[in-house]
Symmetry: C2
Subunit: 242 residues, 2 copies
DNA sequence: TATTGTTTTCTTACACCGCAAGAGTTGTCA
DNA sequence: TGACAACTCTTGCGGTGTAAGAAAACAATA
């Protein structure tokens, strides 16, 4: 009795599996992702996925990698104009992308990110800055800082929204509960001061970029000047540690 | 045959359980933490812990809370001097603390942080800034930005170090592998330019604080001036959108 | 001391997880 | 038709969080 136990081929691909995984965590959250459930979503038994992806860790890495590949176009849309504008647009697009995939955000934040896609993205950014006259070390500092700021901010933003799984829904307790122990916070929550997360993001981003631009400009001036004066000047920005 | 199956009381406490959990993840990593193993480390059966902590999610929350309580003293050591110095010292201490507890860092980053300890910390910071004349909304922006920057940076830093569990050890592939596809990165990895993570942290932190300080100063000036000129000025920093 | 009641600990059980090993089916090509 | 590769499934193992409740340790009282 050769009962047909294996389904006819489904035309699966490593890429399809990873895309389905991204879609799955976007809908059900990261904690809900398991081989069996993802397999079910793909019309296939759980263990089948191991034919395309060697382990769950590899699946998560692949998801991050794929997300970066898919978003690469949006992240560096039109690299023209001064580098500050390019980097600002990049950060804004990155934040948008991260907030669109909050589950992927926690994966991205937790997992080390030295993958080809992330390196390519970084390389692309460096090229923009270098073409605008920014030294290599400074370009790396700027991009690393902006990415890390955006990531940290996005993490806080998705943490605020209580679509977190596992803990109590935590309603708007804040607006009422403090008042004595947290006078300033109580006031902030009452009036809404300083609670616009998006505005804080843009503001700090602007300050960060303007600060770096000013420092680089100063370094360039100082460097040019020192060629004449030959006086002992602070080293030019590359190692201008605290 | 009343064989003694339960051990004599161990004097356990919710606090002791949480402290042991922190010590455990500090040593073995977050993924290794389980009730049974933590129980074994405490000389007790795994289910016993449920008498002190209602769930694993609650345990993780408790660990974050406890860590903040324990570190509160270090984080705001000597709140004297201009607010920029206080906040800088806070960020430096926070980074130090996070790097000392890399496993806790991922918990802290993933889990929403509106707990009493974190609110108290924030309130304390706001008080410092407010006492130095910073408006409430701006104080929140500064503190939120600094915390998120520090968190994002620390995440990247522990991600660089390959003590990550589950993936391949990933040796120093970078120094050799690119060269053609990532010319700038290859150069950076070869010469070491822009790779000093700690220096980048301090540099960006300094730029961030200086930028905020300058903007607040400008807002104050603009506000004072506008009292005389009555001219149409940009609104003073609280709603100075992007 | 014996009894009761509370606090703490353990046992058992269940559903789920990632994954190793291998058997089975399906399609392709000689 | 046969052989072979590609793909899918089954089984099984040790691990997880946790619900439910029995059993032991202790404290206090009779």
């Amino acid at each position: 009795m050769p009962s047909r136990r294996t389904r006819p081929r489904t035309g699966l691909t490593r890429e399809k599996v990873i895309d389905a995984a991204i879609a799955y965590v976007d809908e059900h959250g990261l904690a809900a992702l398991s081989n069996r459930k993802l397999g079910a979503a793909l019309g296939v038994e759980g263990m089948t996925l191991y034919y395309y992806v060697p382990s769950k860790a590899a699946l998560l890495d692949g998801m991050v990698e794929r997300l970066l590949e898919l978003s690469a176009g949006d992240l560096f849309a039109a690299p023209s104009g001064p580098w500050t504008d390019v980097v600002r647009d990049f950060a804004v697009a990155l934040r948008r992308m991260l907030l669109d995939h909050p589950a992927m955000l926690t994966v991205l934040a937790t997992r080390p990110a030295a993958t080809p896609a992330s390196l390519a993205l970084l390389e692309r950014g460096i090229t923009v800055l270098r073409d605008d006259g920014v030294p290599l070390a400074d370009a790396l500092d700027v991009l690393n800082s902006v990415v890390r700021w955006t990531l940290g901010h996005a993490l806080a933003e998705v943490g605020e929204t209580p679509h977190h799984e596992g803990t109590e829904p935590q309603p708007e307790e804040f607006a009422a509960l403090d008042r004595d122990t947290y006078p300033h916070l109580a006031r902030a929550f009452a009036t809404g001061e300083g609670l616009d997360s998006e505005q804080c993001f843009h503001r700090t981003l602007r300050i960060l970029l303007a600060g770096y631009a000013a420092e680089l400009e100063r370094a360039k001036q100082g460097l040019a000047e020192s060629e004449f004066t030959k006086g002992p000047h602070p080293r030019p920005a590359g190692s201008a540690g605290q």
